[in-house]
């Protein structure tokens, strides 16, 4: 498709920018690296918008169905005659949507960082890493090949690692970056093995072919994968579940969510981009990309649904107790991604049944805006207050009016208050859940209420509450910091009105979706109640929250300590892996395996000492040995007649 070939530039420009800034950003171009990066991203975002337009309105639709357009395809690494890693650019509704989200949010973050990161020592490097991330994320979403996804999956992982650890001289940042990478790596292991299983079963790595082969009822590949089983579970389910583990790791799903709150050690714009809007939804994207397979295999889809539901609920509870602004947002991110996951999990494949899928993607879309908005607001706040702790804030309403409005928009949106964007996507998810699984629906509604509560808890504590007397180094921030807030706030408000079901559905055929207002009344009322409750508790400083906390006792403490997940992980890694596997391995190597070699040498020396007596220096002894030698030989070979 030559008229779409400019898409390649969307990928190449950030890459080139990374190379340029990576090599020169430290000294040569340090000053203007921000400007370079931002202008490159501006071009990228423009191209992406163009792609959206061209795909959805010009080229994409054929016979009423959005079809897959392979813009570029080449063989990158061949494994065997039919299995190879291809690199390419494939456009379909969700990849185009993701292109748009990633490039726009990335642009916003680039702009915001101009102000936020100003004066940083490694300003150029920061932009280089940002470009690397943008490149990897964009390449991930347009993948044609499941291994291509894996490749860029790892690359976004490493960008995330580098950016979380951007303040490398802070031990906590180093630890967080390490944790983030290792936890996701662990999940990627599942992804990798899943790929191996799927590719072996399907005999291909190409996503499109893979899906066709494994969803055609008569195909030998599908037969092979459903009949061969391990531990009573079919190979297909294993493969899909393992792939989902990869996605769960990246999307910080329960129980692999522990890395995300810590990842907030990175610069706040990074949290907005990577850990809220784009990278963390990669897991959702992965499941969506392979959705035909998942919808075909009910058991793995159920896993997706329940993991999503749990991941929506637990972090929401935790978020109600946390005091670090970014951590609260991080937990809310997990919770929202949980929504998207179970949205997918409850979805069917075709027609109206695909509502969950559509809703999930819709939520991904809206979430990208309002969550990055919230994070950037948080960034602005932190920039001002120089602290992450909510206790240090309060009464900021007057000091930063724009941020205040933007944050409020974000909160309303995430709380699902109409007409903000979050309302539409969330309602659709809930209605999809209601149609297929009442339990999950219940969880969803409860979580939605909690969300409204903790978000407004945050909002009131930051912007209302008591006003602190503080000496401020600077005002609300430069234009570069305010502009993205405004843009995102507007997007977060309006994104809900996009007729999403016309564009993104599992079978790529547009459907008519409508928000059932009657159905929505119940969740919205609950959310509003939660907001009012939060307002009562936190609008002014009072003793009620503390009282409630003590009355909840153990439960509060449990939630406050994040259900002790960190401790469990620490126990497993430090105590079990290090002490029970690593240390013994090192010990065995040093003392047993190596010891054997040394023992061999020592024995040789020992024997040589033992037998030195033969060389006694006494002439007559020598004569005796001489004679004994003859007798011995004679005895062996003459007496016993050793015949040949």
């Amino acid at each position: 498709m030559s008229h779409l070939s400019y898409i390649v530039w969307i990928l190449l420009l950030p890459l080139a920018n990374f190379a340029l800034l990576g090599l020169t950003g430290r000294k040569l171009l340090k000053g203007i690296s921000g400007v370079i990066g931002t202008s490159v991203l501006l071009v990228v975002a423009a191209l992406a918008s163009m792609a959206v337009y061209q795909y959805f309105f010009v080229y994409g639709k054929l016979d009423g169905i959005y079809h897959l357009i392979n813009v570029l395809q080449f063989e990158w690494l061949k494994f065997s005659p039919n299995v190879s890693i291809g690199m390419g650019v494939a456009l379909d509704p969700i990849s185009v949507m993701m292109l748009f989200i990633v490039s726009v949010v990335s642009l916003m973050v680039h702009v915001f960082s101009l102000g936020y990161m100003k004066g940083e020592e490694r300003f150029g490097t920061y932009y280089a890493f940002l470009s690397l991330f943008t490149f990897s994320m964009l390449s991930l979403v347009i993948s044609t090949n499941i291994f291509q996804i894996y490749i860029f999956w790892e690359l976004v992982g490493i960008s995330s690692y580098l950016l979380i650890g951007f303040y490398y001289d802070k031990p906590s940042a180093v630890a967080a970056s390490k944790k983030a990478f290792i936890v996701t790596r662990f999940a990627d292991l599942g992804f990798l093995v899943g790929i191996l299983i799927l590719s072996f079963g399907a005999g291909t790595l190409d996503i499109h072919t893979l899906i066709i082969r494994l969803t055609t009822v008569q195909s030998p590949q599908l037969l092979g994968m459903t009949t061969s089983s391990f531990l009573g579970i079919s190979a297909l389910t294993w493969g899909l579940t393992l792939v989902f583990i990869g996605g769960a790791g990246k999307s910080a799903m329960f129980p692999l969510h522990v890395w995300l709150p810590d990842a907030m050690e990175g610069p706040t714009p990074i949290s907005a981009l990577i850990h809220a809007a784009t990278m963390v939804v990669a897991g959702v994207y992965l499941v969506a990309r392979l959705f035909p397979l998942y919808s075909f295999d009910v058991s793995s889809l159920n896993i997706v649904a329940y993991v999503g539901a749990i991941s929506a609920l637990l972090p929401a509870i935790i978020a109600c107790t946390q005091n670090d602004i970014k951590r609260v947002l991080a937990y809310s991110t997990i919770s929202q991604i949980g929504y998207m996951m179970f949205g997918l999990g409850v979805s069917g494949y075709s027609g109206e049944l695909g509502l969950g899928y559509m809703a999930s993607m819709f939520h991904l879309f809206t979430h990208a805006f309002f969550k990055s908005l919230l994070f950037l607001c948080a960034g602005a706040i932190i920039h001002l207050v120089q602290s992450n702790d909510v206790k240090d804030m309060g009464g900021l309403r007057k000091l930063m009016p724009i941020t205040h409005i933007a944050f409020l928009v974000g909160c309303l949106s995430i709380a699902g208050i109409p007409p903000f964007s979050g309302f539409f996507s969330k309602e659709e998810i809930l209605s999809a859940a209601y149609q297929s699984n009442k339990l999950i629906y219940g969880v969803g509604v409860f979580t939605s209420m909690l969300t409204a509560f903790y978000m407004f808890r945050l909002y009131f504590r930051i912007f209302h509450s008591r006003a602190q007397n503080r000496e401020l180094a600077h005002g609300e921030g430069s234009l570069s910091m305010k502009l993205p807030l405004v843009v995102l706030a507007v997007s977060a408000t309006l994104a809900g009105f996009v007729p999403f079901s016309l564009f993104v559905t599992p079978d790529h055929a547009p459907i008519e979706a409508h928000v059932d207002l009657i159905f929505s009344i119940f969740p919205v009322v609950l959310s509003v109640a939660a907001i009012l409750f939060a307002a009562r508790l936190y609008r002014t400083q009072n003793a009620r929250p503390a009282k409630i906390a003590t009355s909840l006792g153990k439960i509060y403490r449990f939630a406050y300590r994040k259900f002790y997940f960190d401790e469990i992980y620490l126990f497993v890694s430090k105590k079990i892996i290090f002490n029970l596997i690593g240390r013994p391995a090192a010990w065995i190597d040093k003392h047993i395996v190596d010891g054997l070699m040394n023992l061999l040498a020592a024995t040789t020396v020992k024997i040589s000492v033992l037998i030195k007596g033969f060389q006694s220096g006494k002439l007559q002894n020598y004569a005796v040995y001489f004679f004994a030698g003859i007798i011995g030989l004679a005895a062996l070979f003459v007496y016993f007649r050793q015949s040949p």
Partner: protein
């Protein structure tokens, strides 16, 4: 192209170095020799491509066969296929980088460079040999210089390590020796002349009994070089005591000698036995991978970390070979090349850090990124390559090995593959731990006087190796195209043998 050039260039260089007076001349000669080697490597690559382009599909190209000891049918027979070309290129990269890294060496620099160059003769000769005698000859050539390099210029318990390395490697080669003799005397069992010629033996049918008897010798012997569990213990001590260039050579090339031998001699010439013993080797390789990785996790010295991780990574080579699928063998060769470059780079970076900070214990370092950004970046990149980051060579190789390994549907093979895959997590743990401790974090040692970033020669060395890593990592298809036909020959051989039985 005359392959013997690959031997004569370093030989000439070594000779010139002996005649040089003064450090400057020695360095200049060594550098010129190193560059010449690299040029020769590239010329070989181009010539090889051209020959293949013209449709020459002979297994071995540029063959030259000269009678050496004719009564014993020992010939100087050389020739290359894609795998050899890849290994030769790797060698030239590592040697040149090694020369550059040791540029500032003051203690007996003449001898140092002489030995280093001499070592490369062994590697080149080994990779081009098509005669088992010649191969063995060059294999042993490449041992003793290492002993001297470690013992004289090393650090720590250098004498112990040097001796251990020499004895274990020579022990390995002694096993190979026994195996080769056994093979030789069973060629042409029906009568006629015995042969050491690799291409000829491949055409013959060696009795299964003989194969089963001698395969363990040959594979085990080469396995010692390739860090096969439990013969890997020379690796940690040897690598960590060696001077930087020697570590680079040791991990970058020496360990590859083993993998190459396992593939070229053991598997190729004794396909039935390779098939029969595959489960054993797979188990050992998996142990090496997992256990090496866990043992790495407990190390504190950066060199030990890299050395143990080499054990783990070289396990992939053996695993790939033992899996006996074309993809896995491709992967094994790629892993050899990739690990060679990566580990050389890693050692180079560690050496540079050690030169400046005088310690290699990760916990005592810290915040190096602040004072030596270039070296730190190189270190991080090497680490990332080690943990298999896409875009760098390690990923390509490991992915290929996994992919190939998975094609064996047997449960044992599957379990081994999954366990080996699991090592990527452990790798991430120890690499990031090392990076976190040494490169990141607050600056701990501030009292160092002349701490500066890399000098031109060090930068040049790192860039050479990085170029190789990126060339494979970003565009692996050329490497695939190079080695895949050669791997196919091997695997065809094995398949035929298995079918015949």
């Amino acid at each position: 192209m005359n392959l013997s050039l690959l031997i004569f260039i370093p030989l000439l260089t070594a000779f010139v170095i002996l005649l040089c007076r003064g450090e400057k001349q020695v360095r200049a000669a060594a550098l010129a020799g190193g560059v010449a080697q690299m040029l020769a490597g590239f010329i070989l690559l181009v010539a090889f491509w051209q020959e293949r382009e013209t449709g020459n599909t002979t297994q071995m190209l540029f063959q030259y066969n000269h009678q050496w000891f004719s009564p014993l049918q020992i010939n100087y027979h050389v020739g290359v296929d894609g795998i050899s070309v890849a290994m030769i290129l790797l060698t030239s990269f590592v040697v040149l980088a090694g020369i550059l890294v040791s540029w500032k060496l003051e203690k007996m620099s003449k001898e140092f460079f002489f030995l280093l160059i001499f070592l490369s003769i062994g590697a080149y000769g080994y990779f081009i040999s098509l005669d088992l005698f010649t191969l063995f000859f060059f294999l042993e050539i490449a041992v003793i210089p290492k002993f001297l390099l470690i013992g004289i210029w090393g650090s720590g318990k250098k004498q112990y390590s040097a001796m251990k390395l020499a004895l274990m490697l020579m022990g390995g080669s002694a096993m190979v020796f026994v195996g080769l003799l056994g093979l030789y005397f069973n060629t042409n069992a029906a009568g006629g002349l015995h042969s050491f010629d690799l291409t000829q033996i491949a055409q013959m049918h060696i009795p299964l009994r003989v194969q089963k008897l001698f395969f363990p010798f040959v594979f085990g012997g080469f396995g010692v070089f390739g860090a096969l569990f439990p013969f890997h213990t020379w690796v940690p001590d040897g690598h960590s005591s060696a001077p930087t260039a020697a570590s680079m050579f040791l991990a970058g090339i020496s360990m590859k000698l083993g993998g190459y031998g396992c593939l070229r001699v053991a598997t190729y010439l004794m396909p039935d036995a390779a098939h029969a013993y595959a489960p054993v080797i797979i188990v050992l390789a998996t142990i090496a991978i997992i256990y090496g990785a866990f043992a790495t996790m407990m190390q504190t010295d950066l060199k030990y970390i890299n050395a143990y991780s080499s054990v783990s990574h070289c396990g992939f080579v053996l695993l790939g070979i033992a899996m006996l699928t074309q993809t896995s063998i491709n992967g094994a060769v790629m892993q050899m090349v990739s690990h060679g470059l990566m580990t050389a780079l890693f050692f180079a970076a560690i050496g540079m850090i050690y030169d400046r900070m005088h310690t290699r214990v990760a916990a005592q370092l810290g915040g190096l990124l602040k004072i030596m950004p270039f070296i730190s970046t190189v270190f991080v990149l090497a680490g990332l390559c080690s943990l298999g980051l896409p875009g760098l060579s390690g990923f390509v190789a490991e992915a290929t090995v996994f992919m190939g390994a998975w094609q064996n549907p047997d449960t044992l093979y599957r379990v081994a593959t999954i366990l080996s895959c699991a090592s990527i997590v452990v790798t991430a743990v120890y690499i990031l731990r090392a990076v976190g401790q040494a490169i990141m974090g607050p600056l701990k040692k501030t009292d160092q006087g002349n701490v500066g970033d890399a000098s031109w020669n060090e930068k040049f060395a790192a860039v050479i190796l990085l170029a190789g890593i990126l060339a494979i990592g970003v565009a692996p298809f050329w490497l695939y195209k190079l080695i895949s036909p050669a791997a196919e020959v091997v695997i065809q051989h094995v398949t035929n043998a298995v079918i015949k039985n």
